[in-house]
């Protein structure tokens, strides 16, 4: 833990960026690389789903509540994982206020690498330009106060959306060359959307690439994704936070080699074992359990998990993934409160 209570007070932005680059912080930052939107916050600022996923003003207003209402050090306006897939032409189910938009992956848009056609309007499509405008609004409104985190989906996730999960996974077994061709073509979407968000004012980018523990092995990660992720770390000029759900300790060694700034890790991995594997080569963030702790339990349980991460030296604290939309506000407020409590206890003693 590189926290120094004697250090001058930092803004949320300084705190997050310092932690992402391994520098000293006045206290551990509270960071949400994915969404902390809830239905009650949507009401508070009149920014309900699905409009908050498609209208920049509402997207920015809802994202800002992570800072103004919950006290996080970062904001993240890209709540969903389908913005660029919509721009690619995927069939989207936008859902209602209380549910997440999803890609209808049972209706894939492509079958082979030859089918891939990145639309010219990728960055001007309403569902991608909305993100860029929301980032601009947040940057203008909050200046240097908070870290603005964007999101650009990795090629593995995009391939799930465009080819269907089952078809793409089978292809990765049967036809490795075509799989690599697909990833190679789709990586341009990741880079272009990422660069556009950096230019719009994003301080860091979350890069979800769902080579999840339940479906893809660590060996697969090394074979198909490690080198691509190294490329992203080199070509996107801001700290990158890789997000992969599930039990991922079997690939954390490879992830630590990518040069990315941080890995957003799931509660299926213990903080101590994860910190031991990454060995300060990459920061860790996340791990506060969503479905059981944040959604179903109380602030005391949230505090316990925050303390577990801080005790292990995890440098940024936050939920493991996009939180359930019905999560209680007191549980979310408990995260920054627990960080402050932990630091108060440790500075006194």
């Amino acid at each position: 833990m590189k926290s120094d209570p004697q250090a001058p007070s930092m803004t949320g932005r300084q705190r997050v960026l310092a932690a992402l680059t391994g520098e000293r912080v006045d206290r551990t930052p509270v960071c949400n690389p994915t969404s902390v939107a809830t239905v009650e916050l949507m009401d508070l600022v009149d920014a309900p789903f699905p409009q908050a996923n498609r209208e920049p003003e509402r997207m920015a207003r809802l994202a800002a509540t992570g800072y103004t209402e919950l006290g996080f050090d970062s904001v993240m306006p890209v709540f969903s994982i389908i913005q660029e897939s919509s721009a690619l032409g995927c069939n989207i189910q936008w859902e209602q206020k209380d549910n997440w938009p999803t890609v209808r992956m049972s209706k894939p848009i492509w079958k082979t690498a030859q089918d891939i056609e990145i639309p010219r309007n990728l960055l001007t499509h309403p569902d991608t330009s909305c993100v860029l405008e929301a980032i601009r609004i947040l940057r203008k409104q909050y200046g240097e106060e908070i870290a603005i985190i964007g999101k650009t989906m990795g090629p593995w996730s995009l391939a799930y959306h465009c080819f269907g999960v089952e078809a793409f996974l089978l292809m990765s077994l049967d036809d490795p060359d075509q799989t690599r061709m697909i990833l190679d073509q789709l990586k341009q979407v990741t880079v272009d959307f990422g660069i556009a968000q950096i230019e719009a004012g994003a301080d860091a980018l979350t890069l979800p690439d769902h080579a999840t523990g339940d479906l893809v092995s660590g060996e697969y990660y090394e074979r198909y994704l490690r080198d691509l992720h190294i490329e992203f770390a080199q070509s996107l000029a801001c700290p990158i936070i890789l997000h992969i759900c599930g039990r991922t300790v079997d690939r954390m060694e490879f992830i630590a080699q990518t040069g990315m700034a941080a890995f957003h890790f799931d509660s299926k991995n213990t903080p101590a074992e994860s910190m031991s594997i990454v060995d300060e080569r990459i920061a860790l963030v996340g791990n506060i359990n969503n479905p059981e702790t944040l959604f179903s339990r109380g602030p005391e349980d949230v505090e316990s998990e925050v303390f577990l991460n801080l005790d292990a030296g995890v440098p940024l604290i936050g939920p493991e993934c996009a939180i359930p939309l019905q999560t209680s506000l007191e549980n979310l407020q408990a995260i920054p409160q627990a960080v402050k409590t932990w630091h108060a206890e440790h500075s006194n003693g």
């Binding site: 969404s35 239905v39 009401d43 508070l44 009149d46 206020k97 769902h210 599930g246």
Partner: protein, 223 residues
């Protein structure tokens, strides 16, 4: 400066109210000393929100016999005790109604749709109720069927209202009786729970479906 209010612990949430612009309405609980107080609240500022929140709080007074405290939207049970599942059920039932403030309290008897039997909750005092089936009320029927339906409904009341089994002084279980832990009568609450007790499974499914909404699954877990 956060605009969130310190209303205590959220105990129930209606994510989208179909009767008022799909706003979210929540029930919060905090303790005033040892007495739990429940507040109905919405963060929405859309027109009609305040009236809707008030209507639900009024409905909870009518249907659950809660009493208003401090403000019109803060409530407590007359017994001053916590009945967490029962108050949540009261809140959710009020949210289903277009105007819960106008609905009369439930009676202590229902017609069980499955059997056609009239089921009655008889108050025994000190928070105890005996559930009986009027076997004359449905034809053809049997005493056995009546006993089975009483068992189902007793089980439903225990699950929905956290009501307790009743034993006599010798420790013998009265399988047709339930009681509130506070030892006080709550007729309107029993009337409300009695309507749902015959089909607790449907309520459990409804709650599970509501809880599953809004949880983001990884793409690998989506269809």
């Amino acid at each position: 400066m956060s605009r969130l209010q310190d209303l205590g612990r959220r105990v129930e949430l209606q994510s989208m109210d179909p009767h008022c612009h799909d706003i979210s309405i929540a029930l919060y609980r905090e303790f005033n000393g040892t007495v739990p107080e429940y507040t109905v609240h919405s963060y929405s500022e859309l027109p009609g929100t305040a009236q809707r929140v008030l209507a639900i709080a009024n409905g909870m007074q009518r249907l659950g016999a809660l009493q208003s405290r401090q403000t019109d939207t803060t409530l407590q049970f007359a017994c001053g005790n916590d009945h967490p599942l029962a108050v949540r059920r009261t809140f959710l039932e009020c949210c289903k109604l277009a105007d819960p403030s106008q609905v009369p309290a439930g009676e202590l008897s229902i017609v069980d749709r499955k059997s056609g039997l009239t089921i009655v909750a008889h108050c025994l005092g000190e928070g105890q109720y005996r559930i009986t089936a009027d076997v004359e009320s449905a034809v053809p029927t049997s005493v056995d069927q009546g006993a089975k339906r009483v068992a189902v409904i007793v089980n439903g009341l225990r699950k929905l209202g956290e009501m307790l089994p009743v034993q006599d002084a010798d420790g013998n279980l009265h399988e047709d009786c339930v009681s509130f832990s506070c030892g006080q009568d709550h007729h309107p609450l029993v009337g409300l729970l009695l309507q749902r007790a015959p089909n607790v499974r449907a309520l459990v499914r409804e709650q599970e479906a509501a809880a599953a909404r809004g949880v983001l699954a990884a793409p690998s877990a989506q269809s």
